[in-house]
């Protein structure tokens, strides 16, 4: 009973930390975005210097588009980037020799990758570029847009998982005690949270339930794998796989030899 409850809490906590960590990683990495997404970025934070796209913090962005309106000055180069979803103003400060060298390859009408820091000035967003390199293989353009879609899908899934995890914490714990499959099916049916007990399903569930049955749990030397296969009417190979998985998850352990297994907890 205690094990189930703590597993229940532990499950949602496990879900929270990697999910939160993933969302935090977005703050520091290069986020692929379309210019339309950038235009819709809202400003977050007290000092209004951070942006938020699809609910995730964004600091540095990568954009792919066609260059136009190049204006070269002594200290900087500005240009406009058009990716088909919008036009974005970009500025490259010429601090290092590398900056000047890299900008020599940038000409009007070519497609480039731009990596930079998203900034806002007088309500208008622009990018302070720290790398601008020409596209050499045009699959890179297709790939960039696919990456934008993937990043968006991943970010919104992570947020949904966090919301779901928070909902679980506030759900009363009574559903856990319903029979042998109680806590396992509760978690896997309620959430789309990764990193929990989603792996325990199907055959694994049946094997675990069998071993957790009080009559079987009471047998000190454990249950032979052949008996499990016979009673559940499943092939030995499948039973062995399940037993390995359950053992790795810490739900069962082998006793007198590698063919005898016992559950860590009884079901009732």
């Amino acid at each position: 009973m205690m094990f189930s409850e703590s597993q229940f809490d532990g499950g949602s906590q496990i879900a929270n930390s990697p999910a939160t960590a993933a969302a935090n990683r977005d703050t520091f990495g290069l986020v692929p975005l379309t210019i339309k997404q950038i235009s819709e970025a809202s400003q977050s934070g007290d000092d209004k210097s951070n942006f938020s796209v699809s609910g995730a913090d964004v600091v540095n962005v990568t954009v792919v588009g066609m260059v136009s309106n190049i204006v070269e000055r002594n200290t900087d180069v500005t240009f406009t980037l058009d990716d088909g979803t919008g036009k974005l103003d970009c500025k490259r400060w010429l601090n290092e020799p590398f900056d000047r060298l890299q900008m020599e390859d940038i000409r009007e009408g070519i497609y480039v990758h731009v990596d930079g820091h998203l900034k806002s000035f007088k309500g208008e967003k622009h990018v302070a570029v720290f790398s601008a390199r020409p596209v050499t293989n045009f699959d890179e353009i297709t790939f960039h847009f696919v990456a934008c879609i993937h990043n968006h899908a991943r970010t919104t899934k992570v947020q949904k998982a966090q919301v779901d995890a928070e909902n679980i914490n506030s759900t009363p714990k009574t559903p856990i005690q319903n029979g042998t499959n109680g806590f396992v099916s509760t978690i896997s049916s309620q959430t789309s949270v990764p990193f929990t007990l989603d792996g325990v399903k199907g055959v694994d569930e049946m094997v675990l339930a069998y071993l957790q049955h009080p009559a079987n749990y009471g047998i000190e030397k454990g249950i032979h794998t052949d008996e499990v296969a016979q009673k559940l009417k499943l092939p030995s190979k499948k039973i062995m796989e399940s037993l390995r998985t359950l053992e790795n998850d810490g739900l069962i352990y082998s006793t007198i030899d590698e063919f005898h297994y016992k559950a860590c907890e009884a079901s009732n």
């Binding site: 979803t85 045009f138 879609i149």
Partner: protein, 107 residues
């Protein structure tokens, strides 16, 4: 920042849904002609492009322009996309996504 005039990512099938609007697509050139070219879209539909072409033109070109009909575009910009290494299937699927569930990221 200006998102007022986007070019919708289309393939042959989707071109008809955006007649009169600014579109962009990649076409495999079948036959160059005076003042344009005839090509095949990434989903194997015939498309006729009118406008100024780069010279010489490569096997794949990206056309940004206004859709005149389900099979024709008046081009503003035509960019050479190379002779061999463009993945048409990837681009085709991207068009479907960009006009499907993830439309809001693009237009």
């Amino acid at each position: 920042m200006d998102t007022s005039n986007p070019a919708v990512l289309v393939n042959g099938d989707l071109l008809g849904s955006y007649v009169g609007r600014r579109v962009r697509t990649v076409i495999q050139v079948v036959q160059p002609s005076a003042g344009g070219l005839t090509g095949r879209s990434t989903d194997e539909k015939q498309v006729v492009v009118k406008g100024q072409m780069p010279s010489p033109v490569t096997t794949f070109v990206e056309v940004i322009g206004v859709a005149d009909s389900a099979q024709a575009i008046t081009a503003e910009i035509v960019t050479n996309f190379g002779d061999t290494t463009f993945d048409a299937n990837n681009f085709n699927q991207l068009c479907q996504h960009a006009n499907g569930a993830f439309r809001h990221l693009f237009i």
